[in-house]
C-alpha cells in the first residue's frame, strides 16, 4: 500500500470544515447501519427456520460492526477517543439526534418485509460503498473496501430470498408485493443527501446520493420486475422534502431507541 505513509498527514491536510462535515456524514451512515442491524437482531429466535435465524443474527452483527467502524472514523476526525465515542453516540444520544433514514427504523414486520428491506438497503449500500472505496480520503476508502466485501454477500443472500419468496407460493408472493408497496415510498429517502454531503462531494470525498439513487433505482426496478413484482407508482415523500428527511423519525423510533439504550442508561459508568 504505497499511500500509507501519507495517512497521518491527511488529518492535517483535510480542511477543518471538511473534517467536521465528514464526521457528521459518517455518523449518519453509521446510524443507518446501527438501526438496521438492531431491527435485524430482532429476528434472533424468531426467524422462520433455524438457518435463517443464524443468517439474520450474522447480518445484524455485520451491520452493527460496520456502524462501529464509521463511528470510530468519525471519532478520529473529531479528535475524540475512539474506544469511548461510539458508545456515547449509540447509548447517550436522544432519539431526535439520530440521522438514520426511516426505512431502517420501521418495525421488522413479517419475514417478507424484513427480507425486502434488506435487499433494498444491500443494493444501495453496494453502490455507495463502491463509490466510497474511490474516495480521495484514504482512511474512508480503505474501510469502505473492507465493508463492501461483506455487503456483497448480504446482497447475494437477500436477492436469493427475494426471488424465492416472490416466486414461491401465492401467499409468499402476496406478502412480498405488500412489503414492496409499504417500503417503496420510504426508499425514496435514499436519495436524500447525508449531512455535509454537498461540500464533501465537491471535494471528491463522497459520492452524490442523488446520483447513486438514480443508479440504484434502475437496478432495483429491473431486479424486482424480473421477480414479477409490480413497482408502486408513488414515491413519498416528494423530493422537495427530502433534505430534512434524516431529521424526522417515524412514530416507531422512540421505542426502538428506548429498547437499544435501556440497559446502558441504567448504569452509565458500568464496565462491560
Amino acid at each position: 500500500m504505497p499511500f500509507l505513509p501519507f495517512v497521518p498527514l491527511w488529518r492535517e491536510v483535510m480542511e477543518r470544515t471538511h473534517q467536521y462535515a465528514l464526521s457528521g456524514y459518517l455518523i449518519a451512515l453509521a446510524d443507518d447501519e446501527l438501526i438496521l442491524g438492531h431491527r435485524d437482531s430482532e429476528w434472533t429466535g424468531h426467524a422462520p427456520i433455524l438457518e435463517e435465524d443464524i443468517a439474520f443474527a450474522n447480518l445484524a452483527l455485520d451491520e452493527i460492526g460496520h456502524a462501529k467502524l464509521w463511528y470510530e472514523l468519525a471519532a478520529d476526525l473529531l479528535g475524540e477517543d475512539k474506544t469511548i465515542y461510539p458508545d456515547k453516540l449509540v447509548y447517550f444520544r436522544d432519539a431526535a439526534q439520530f440521522r438514520n433514514i426511516q426505512l431502517a427504523e420501521l418495525p421488522k414486520g413479517d419475514w417478507a418485509f424484513s427480507t425486502l428491506r434488506q435487499y433494498l438497503f444491500d443494493a444501495f449500500e453496494a453502490l455507495r460503498l463502491e463509490a466510497l472505496s474511490q474516495s480521495s480520503y484514504t482512511p474512508l476508502a480503505e474501510i469502505a473496501t473492507r465493508i463492501r466485501t461483506e455487503e456483497l454477500y448480504h446482497l447475494r443472500h437477500s436477492q436469493a430470498w427475494v426471488l424465492r419468496l416472490v416466486l414461491g407460493t401465492e401467499e409468499s408472493g402476496r406478502r412480498m408485493q405488500a412489503a414492496l408497496d409499504a417500503l417503496w415510498p420510504y426508499a425514496r429517502a435514499l436519495a436524500a443527501p447525508l449531512p455535509g454531503e454537498a461540500d464533501l462531494h465537491a471535494a471528491g470525498i463522497v459520492p452524490s446520493s442523488a446520483a447513486l439513487f438514480e443508479h440504484w433505482s434502475s437496478e432495483a426496478i429491473a431486479f424486482l420486475q424480473s421477480a414479477n413484482l409490480s413497482i408502486p407508482s408513488s414515491f413519498i415523500p416528494h423530493p422537495s422534502s427530502l433534505v430534512d428527511s434524516r431529521r424526522v423519525h417515524s412514530e416507531y423510533f422512540p421505542a426502538l431507541i428506548q429498547d437499544l439504550q435501556a440497559v446502558a442508561r441504567l448504569d452509565p459508568e458500568a464496565q462491560w
Binding site: I49, E51, N58, L61, T149, E150, L152, Y153, R156, A160
Partner: protein, 181 residues
C-alpha cells in the same frame, strides 16, 4: 404432506492444504440456498477456503459391515461418471475426502474405491457423483469467507460468568450469615 425442506450435506475445506471434510447438514429448498445457509451456519468461523453442498439423498454410503453382506456388483463399464469418494476412519472423525473414481453406479463406485485406495480402510464409505455437487464460485470466495478472517469475537471463556456468579453468591451468603449473627 411433508413440508420439511430436503437435507443438504455440507463439506468444507478449512485451508489450502486441508482435505474437504463433512461438517454437517442444512435444510434448504434448493442448492443455492443450501450454499448460503452452509456459509451462514458453518463458515462464519472457523475459516474456510472452499464449500460444497450435496443433496443428502444422492450420497450412497456403505459401512464395513454392510460391505461384508453386500451382493457382488455388476462391473459394467458403460456410462461411467465421476464419483467423489469420502471415508470416515474413526467413530469421532469427520468424513473426509479420499479421492475420485469413475463408475457406472454408486455400488460400483464403492467397489472401485476399495480397489483404487487399497491402503485406506475407512469404517464407512461415502460416494456421490461429482456432477451433483454445488461448489462455491472462487470469484465469490472473499464475500463468502472474509467474515471469519476479519471478525474478532470473544471466546466463551472470556466471559467469566460462572466464576463471577460464584463470587457474587459467596458474597451474598456471607452477608446473610453476618445479618443472622
Amino acid at each position: 404432506m411433508d413440508t420439511q425442506w430436503p437435507r443438504y450435506m455440507v463439506f468444507q475445506q478449512e485451508g489450502p492444504d486441508q482435505p474437504m471434510v463433512h461438517n454437517g447438514t442444512v435444510h434448504a429448498p434448493d442448492a443455492e440456498l443450501a450454499m448460503l445457509n452452509a456459509r451462514d451456519v458453518f463458515v462464519r468461523r472457523p475459516e474456510a477456503v472452499q464449500l460444497w453442498v450435496v443433496l443428502a439423498d444422492v450420497i450412497f454410503t456403505q459401512t464395513q459391515e454392510e460391505l461384508e453382506k453386500a451382493e457382488p456388483v455388476d462391473q459394467s463399464t458403460s456410462q461411467l461418471v465421476d464419483y467423489y469418494v469420502f471415508g470416515k476412519f474413526t467413530q469421532q472423525a469427520q468424513c473426509r475426502h479420499i479421492g475420485q473414481v469413475q463408475a457406472s453406479s454408486p455400488q460400483v463406485a464403492v467397489a472401485a474405491a476399495i480397489a483404487t485406495f487399497a491402503d485406506k480402510q475407512p469404517l464407512w464409505w461415502w460416494v456421490f457423483p461429482a456432477s451433483t455437487v454445488l461448489k462455491n464460485e472462487s470469484s465469490e470466495s472473499d464475500p463468502m469467507f472474509s467474515a471469519a478472517r476479519y471478525k474478532t469475537f470473544k471466546d466463551q471463556a472470556e466471559y467469566p460468568v460462572i466464576t463471577m456468579m460464584r463470587e457474587l453468591r459467596a458474597k451474598a451468603n456471607h452477608k446473610d450469615t453476618e445479618n443472622t449473627k
